[in-house]
């Protein structure tokens, strides 16, 4: 009543004070309406506040009882930094070891972890939240990432009503469980979706990809959107029995042929061996003219700047057939095939194509062979980086050690793909390379980037037994640099080396608190 009067305003009429307890009304003296209203409002607000009663509400379910082991304070600072995004390589080790020991973040930190954990780190943070963290996450929709799948909202609800990211995730999960029903889900909504949504939803078909998916994918080849067509081609190329894959294989085999050595006399044989074509040679004849039907198979007509049309088509074709095809086709081992390809006129296109195919089809054998073949080839660093993780773990150790023996400190990227525990040989090679590079760097003052990246990987991944000696070299280098304070480059390097020492110190402390 009072509020209504106040909202309307006394100039539109004043009917006196109504709807108030007698005591309140009686306390307001005779005054003009505005004053009455104000005084009454003031008295009424104090009256109400003084007479406030608590309201009965249902009691909540407390968190489940659990004796949790909290992360010690000094490790917590490291976790704070990992949360901010530092120590990206070290983070998986920290997380797994802490989880293994059953450590949990303290309640004071739970909220910041739930708020700030980056998507790619979330799986690792989950076990560190403990029972209470999970209980907390259940109460806030923004923190649903922390919940195990079982507690999440029903998958089909997420598929039908979620945003794009949730729908993709739901489809992925469904594909993992029942590929056919997931495809049925997709077919049901297909016509109604926009182009970019269609493309995003097509990608989960990669999970559990099988021959039964071919009809649907073939239909996608005629889709209006270029992105959808490209994705469909990519998926079909991975199905060896699909029509598309067969067409591509036949075409590839017709362009790149293997000529077995003709019967030759002794001199001929000698000449052949000298020219490296003793086992036969590669005859590459890419098509001379573009065929329109090829664009349906995912090939593009116009080459990029600086590349010839035929080389471009060859490269594309080789990149979408499985490398294993060549072994089948020619009976040659990967190594010799690659060697022949490099030696041919179309070497660059062939090698780029083979590298791309290796990545696409995850072929470990070809990754190994290609890597070794490309070690000495200039300009191949980018491809080598891409195919290195595809080799088997054992092969990676071997390749890494081989690379290190050449004295090039730029191996940090490779080391990041070498899972622990490292074999003795790799440990020793790393240690020797670090020492060597450090000595060279301090003497010549050259570019330190590769060395520092190597140093970081080594500090985090070497076993602690070797770290004492490792630390001593860095300390030596810092001491040496600090004698040259006039040289700004030396000061800069000294600061960087001191950070390395800090990192080693951290690592040693971590090992002490949270042993392996």
């Amino acid at each position: 009543m009072l509020l209504q009067q106040a909202l309307i305003g006394t100039m539109n009429g004043f009917g006196g004070l109504h709807g108030l307890p007698e005591e309140v009304r009686a306390s307001v003296p005779e005054l003009p309406p505005e004053q009455q209203l104000l005084i009454a409002a003031g008295v009424w607000s104090v009256y109400r506040e003084a007479g406030r009663q608590a309201v009965l509400r249902p009691l909540p379910q407390p968190a489940p009882e659990a004796r949790e082991k909290y992360v010690p304070a000094n490790i917590q600072t490291m976790l704070d930094e990992c949360l901010k995004g530092e120590w990206e390589n070290w983070w998986p080790v920290v997380a797994t070891r802490l989880a293994r020991h059953g450590y949990v973040v303290s309640p004071g930190k739970m909220v910041s972890v739930l708020n700030a954990a980056k998507p790619q780190q979330q799986a690792a943070w989950r076990p560190l939240l403990g029972t209470r963290g999970l209980w907390l996450a259940q109460q806030n929709a923004a923190w649903s990432w922390a919940l195990a799948d079982a507690e999440k909202i029903e998958r089909s609800t997420r598929w039908l009503e979620g945003n794009l990211a949730e729908r993709v995730q739901a489809l992925r999960e469904q594909r993992g469980e029942d590929a056919a029903s997931a495809r049925a889900w997709l077919e049901a909504v297909w016509k109604g979706e926009k182009a970019d949504v269609r493309q995003a939803l097509l990608e989960p078909l990669l999970i559990g990809l099988g021959q039964e998916d071919e009809p649907f994918l073939n239909a996608c080849l005629a889709d209006r959107s270029q992105a959808v067509r490209a994705t469909a081609v990519h998926l079909l190329s991975l199905l060896p029995a699909s029509a598309l894959a067969q067409r591509l294989r036949e075409r590839a085999m017709s362009w790149v042929q293997w000529q077995a050595p003709a019967a030759q006399g002794a001199l001929g044989k000698l000449a052949a061996r000298l020219s490296g074509s003793a086992q036969g040679r590669m005859v590459i004849t890419p098509a001379t003219a573009w065929d329109k039907s090829w664009s349906k198979d995912g090939l593009e007509e116009t080459p990029p700047q600086g590349e010839g049309a035929r080389a471009f088509w060859l490269r594309q074709l080789v990149s979408i057939v499985p490398p294993a095809l060549w072994q089948e086709h020619t009976g040659q081992a990967a190594e010799s095939y690659i060697k022949a390809a490099l030696a041919s006129d179309w070497g660059d296109a062939m090698v780029d194509g083979l590298c791309a195919a290796t990545v696409r089809f995850h072929d470990a054998e070809w990754a190994y062979a290609l890597y070794r073949a490309l070690l000495d080839r200039s300009g191949s660093a980018e491809w080598r980086e891409k195919i290195f993780p595809l080799a088997t773990v054992e092969q990676r150790y071997e390749l890494c050690a081989a690379h290190m023996k050449r004295g090039d400190p730029d191996v940090a990227g490779m080391l990041a793909h070498c899972p622990l525990p490292w074999p003795e040989s790799l440990q020793q090679a790393t240690v020797r390379l670090a020492q060597q590079s450090l000595r060279q760097a301090t003497q010549s003052g050259n570019d330190q980037e590769a060395l520092l990246a190597l140093g970081e990987q080594a500090a985090l991944l070497l076993p602690s037994a070797l770290l004492a000696q490792y630390k001593a070299w860095w300390q030596e280098a810092v001491d040496e640099l600090e004698t040259h304070t006039e040289n700004w480059r030396a000061r800069f390097a000294a600061a960087a080396y001191r950070r390395q020492l800090e990192l080693i110190e951290r690592r040693l402390q971590f090992d002490k608190e949270i042993p392996l």
């Binding site: 505005e34 003031g42 509400r57 708020n115």
Partner: protein, 440 residues
């Protein structure tokens, strides 16, 4: 007397010093660390040729360092305290070196001088002071009369009309009040203006606030006939608090051991205002310390939440004494492991009713609720007691509320906070017997 790292870092004037100080909290750069009853000290190797001498007074954490930094406490002082937080054994009791003793003695004498000055008020030109007071009173009366008219005008036009007015509408009137020497009223008005259109219940809230202002003005008009304590309270509310010297000499005094419940720093354009809430061990009385710092200047006194000290508090005269100040005789007494007193919900509501009866304009009340359980539903937060009685909860930062929930796990625990504008604002609690600030 042990501080945790979190408490030490809270002493730093800004984040940069806190970070730099934390980095110095390792043993390597330090030498000659020692402690005595009065202080701790150490020498820190810096980028200069001679190490910096750092001293920290144990009674109030004032620090002095020989480094050229403008900030207090500097990163070296923070570093020393951080180091000692994790390795207290490093500061073995030993004889105070000269550079430490000299500084401490000088501080003691200047503190003594301050008390003496307060106790013997200086000679003042009586007549001139009288005239100044009259002039000020005249200006204020004018300003308050103008506010009266302004409020009445709003009632005439109706609150619905003002919903569309921007902050300038309120700011203009608030500025007039500041000119009229009534900053307390100005703040109230500004606060009302900020909530228009923001709170769901803004019409009721605004009307209630305006009503309270009207009551204040009415009471002020009849101040001659009021109880002197109520009259002092009115002066406080309008923004004419007594001066520190006056409070030291004439205000109500209470000797007790005081627990620092919580602390909040409010930043405005040019000023930083720090509120520190205290709870007396034997008296179970609450108190509020207010300190200001201009711009980037540090606060001159340090009170570390979660610690306790013995002192005589001097309260500002009023009908419900809350605001107080310390004198120089302060003695740190350690780190309590729990809140010394806590109220039931019913107990608090009774206390609030009694307080409002003597001071209807009370806006904030500190309290420690016992065995409290936070609960949230669809973004609305409540605090419940074990029988399910609930009061509304609000906070500047929802993370603080989640942090509260995380710490107590939905089980009853004592919580310290403030009752303000019809809701409970939680500030700090104890977890595993350690004091925890609920962070933003």
């Amino acid at each position: 007397m042990q501080l945790t790292e979190q408490q030490v870092l809270a002493l730093a004037p800004d984040a940069q010093v806190a970070g730099a100080g934390k980095k110095l909290g390792i043993a390597k750069p330090w030498g000659n660390i020692g402690s005595s009853e009065r202080a701790v000290w150490g020498e820190c190797k810096g980028s200069g040729s001679r190490p910096y001498q750092v001293r920290v007074d144990r009674s109030d954490y004032a620090a002095k360092c020989s480094c050229p930094s403008h900030k207090f406490p500097c990163k070296h002082a923070i570093g020393l305290l951080v180091l000692l937080a994790s390795e207290p054994a490093l500061a073995a009791p030993s004889a105070e070196p000269e550079w430490v003793a000299e500084w401490l003695d000088k501080r003691a004498t200047s503190a003594q001088q301050k008390i003496e000055r307060a106790q013997s008020p200086s000679e003042v030109d009586e007549a001139a002071q009288q005239k100044r007071q009259e002039k000020r009173a005249g200006r204020m009366d004018e300003g308050l009369a103008a506010l009266d008219v302004w409020l009445a005008d709003l009632m005439r036009r109706g609150l619905a009309q003002i919903a569309g007015e921007g902050p300038a509408f309120w700011e203009k009137q608030a500025a007039r009040l500041v000119d009229a020497q009534a900053p307390g009223l100005a703040n109230r008005l500004r606060a009302l203006g900020e909530e228009v259109g923001v709170r769901d219940d803004w019409p009721e809230h605004t009307l209630a606030g305006m009503g309270q202002l009207a009551l204040l003005l009415k009471a002020w008009q009849g101040r001659e006939h009021l109880d002197p304590r109520l009259r002092r309270e009115l002066e406080l509310q309008i923004g004419l608090p007594a001066r520190e010297e006056e409070v030291l000499a004439q205000g109500e005094q209470r000797q007790d051991e005081w627990q620092i419940l919580a602390q909040e720093i409010e930043e405005t354009a040019r000023l930083r205002l720090r509120r520190t809430w205290l709870l007396g061990r034997h008296s179970a009385q609450y108190a509020l310390l207010l300190h200001t710092a201009v711009n980037k200047q540090p606060f001159t006194e340090h009170f570390v939440p979660g610690t306790s000290f013995r002192a005589v508090l001097h309260f500002w005269p009023g009908s419900y004494p809350l605001r107080a100040m310390t004198d120089a005789q302060l003695e740190n007494t350690g780190v309590p492991a729990a809140f010394w007193h806590a109220e039931t919900m019913e107990g608090f509501l009774d206390r609030q009713a009694d307080a409002l009866a003597v001071n209807p304009w009370l806006q904030r009340m500190p309290l420690v609720l016992s065995a409290a359980i936070p609960v949230q539903q669809n973004g609305q937060w409540w605090v419940l007691d074990q029988e399910g009685h609930g009061l509304p909860v609000r906070s500047h930062s929802v993370n603080r509320l989640w942090s509260w929930l995380a710490h107590c796990g939905g089980r009853p625990a004592d919580i310290a906070g403030e009752w303000q504008a019809g809701a409970f604002h939680p500030l700090a609690m104890y977890f595993n017997q350690r004091y925890q600030v609920l962070s933003d």
